[in-house]
């Protein structure tokens, strides 16, 4: 009996203890919760997520720049040995020095400005003609049939092949260079625009049919806006090919511009200047694409 009473007593004690512990724990928990604002804990969660994504971003950046860095490093390491024949392929240091020097005496910037102006002229003409003719061809089956054979035959002829005849017809002035650049940009523009117009969403054109949309409104407020994405693609490809045709255009008896800088340097065996010219073309081409991309994002912000 006595043992039992003691046992019960102990049991009760244990229960009380448990309860107290429980209460204490609960108290602690609530206190913790009070101390640490809920929003704070949320913030920390978001922070860790941010941390992860920023880590990922850094990794992606590294991934993006790594191959180029490795290439430059290899270039540097291979060409820094004294046994290296620098006429065949200049060292990184020599190219960098020439680059800085060319910027410092403004000759590179002047060449870029002249070439850029030519490219923009050619691109503008190919844009105006390519977009308007592309819209016409996309809209009208007649226009398409009338022009298709011309376009298909002329398109594969590279602008370089035009050089002899262009010099003969337009001389060696500015016109022939702009014309060659225009040729490079025109066909990709035309192709993309006319395709974009022709393959405009049947589902949307049917809506206009049901509404009896007037022809003018149909073209300017439905067909052209719906073709805007492909018009932009056309612009980007066209600007790229215009820029690519630059050297070809400036081979036509030119005495300024980046193409001239390259061909002139070649005559003097200055491979470092040649490479500086090439790299400038590459970097500017990339920058132009970035700019056009940003414009596209702005204009086509309705795109899902």
């Amino acid at each position: 009996m006595a043992d039992e009473i003691i046992l019960v007593g102990i049991k009760k004690d244990v229960e009380v203890l448990h309860e107290e512990n429980h209460r204490k724990n609960f108290h602690r928990a609530t206190k913790k919760a009070e101390e640490k604002n809920i929003s704070e804990s949320e913030v920390t969660i978001i922070d860790t997520e941010k941390d992860n994504s920023s880590k990922k971003k850094i990794f992606e950046r590294i991934e993006y720049f790594l191959p180029m860095t490795v290439l430059l490093l290899t270039w540097y390491l291979v060409t820094c040995r004294s046994t290296y024949h620098s006429v065949l392929f200049p060292s990184l240091a020599a190219v960098a020095t020439t680059f800085v020097q060319k910027i410092a005496d403004l000759s590179l910037l002047r060449a870029i400005a002249i070439s850029l102006l030519r490219v923009l002229k050619g691109f503008a003409i190919s844009g105006i003609l390519g977009i308007s003719l592309g819209i016409l061809i996309g809209l009208s089956k007649h226009a398409q049939r009338l022009t298709d054979l011309f376009i298909q035959v002329l398109k594969p002829i590279p602008p370089i092949a035009w050089i002899p005849i262009v010099i003969l017809w337009l001389g060696i002035g500015e016109e022939s260079k702009v014309f060659l650049i225009f040729l490079g940009g025109f066909f990709p523009m035309l192709q993309n625009v006319s395709d974009g117009i022709r393959y405009s969403d049947k589902k949307l054109t049917e809506v206009a049919e049901v509404m009896e949309t007037p022809k003018k409104k149909y073209i300017f407020h439905l067909v052209i806006p719906s073709a805007l994405p492909s018009i932009f693609t056309g612009c980007r490809i066209s600007l790229g090919t215009c820029w690519t045709c630059l050297v070809a255009a400036e081979l036509v008896a030119s005495n300024d511009g980046i193409g001239y800088m390259i061909s002139n340097a070649r005559n003097f065996g200055r491979m470092d200047i040649v490479i500086v010219g090439m790299l400038s073309i590459g970097i500017i081409g990339k920058l132009m694409d970035v700019v056009l991309n940003a414009v596209e994002k702005r204009v086509l912000k309705w795109k899902a």
């Binding site: 589902k203 049917e206 049901v210 009896e212 949309t213 439905l222 719906s226 795109k303």
Partner: protein, 256 residues
């Protein structure tokens, strides 16, 4: 009341790999003014094709469709069409999508009418949202508003709620009935949802398959607003159901 829409002996053939396919055959029915008709059929029976013929979108058919005494040859503004997908212009806001349907009047008048249509479908507050920012239900409301803004006398609806979830669907069905009440529009709707058909329509056209022929026109003589769980409602539903599915024999146990 005289017949407003008269469909006589409409047929439609398609050619597939040189084989002739009779999609619709011998379709004749009449619709009274401000009636609500549902066309019900299984997929591929030609019900959407029939609606396209009625609206004038499809003109390669036999037979004739007359609306208000005039033969239908091509679509017209006074006959609205609500497509299954919202088909909004993604580069225009909700308001501008609706204004697109309007060709007459000043800019201000157009805007006022568009805002009225937006209010009618209960989208006030989303006038300036772009289609990519809308939910499926909201996009479909915009679609309906765009079809209604020209005050059409007939509205064709091609499975307008087919892609919506059950809750949005019921909500939009009620809105559609409210709009019909307000505007007194004749509505012809294609659907594969039998309950929807019984809930909405005055008459249901049951379409068979291969070739698509009218199997029956079921009168839905139930008072509005309709209760989906009402016995008569269920009975009508079953009647239409039985055209498509064999009645299930209930196995009953008898204990004597």
């Amino acid at each position: 009341m005289s017949d407003y829409i008269k469909v006589s002996d409409v047929s439609r053939k398609f050619f597939q790999n040189g084989k002739q396919l009779n999609v619709l055959d011998d379709i004749s029915f009449d619709v009274k003014k401000s009636e609500f008709i549902c066309i019900v059929g299984s997929s591929g029976c030609g019900k959407s094709t029939l609606l396209r013929i009625l609206s004038g979108l499809d003109s390669h058919h036999g037979g004739e469709v007359d609306i208000d005494g005039k033969k239908i040859e091509k679509p017209a503004k006074e006959r609205g069409f609500v497509f299954q997908e919202a088909r909004l212009f993604p580069w225009l806001s909700v308001k501008d999508n609706i204004i697109f349907a309007l060709d007459e009047g000043t800019k201000k008048e157009k805007e006022e009418r568009a805002l009225a249509a937006i209010k009618l479908v209960g989208l006030t507050g989303f006038e300036n949202a772009y289609p990519k920012e809308l939910s499926g239900g909201m996009a479909q409301r915009t679609n309906i508003a765009r079809a209604l803004v020209n005050n059409p006398s007939v509205l064709f609806l091609d499975e307008p709620f087919g892609a919506l979830d059950a809750f949005t669907k019921i909500c939009l069905q009620n809105e559609l009935l409210r709009i019909k009440e307000e505007e007194n529009t004749t509505m012809i709707m294609v659907t594969h949802d039998i309950e929807e058909a019984v809930y909405l329509s005055d008459r249901i056209i049951v379409l068979g398959k291969n070739p698509g022929r009218i199997r029956d026109i079921v009168e839905v003589d139930l008072p509005r607003p309709r209760d989906r769980n009402n016995v008569f409602f269920t009975e009508t539903k079953k009647k239409v159901y039985d055209y498509f599915f064999k009645p299930v024999e209930a196995v009953e146990d008898y204990v004597i």
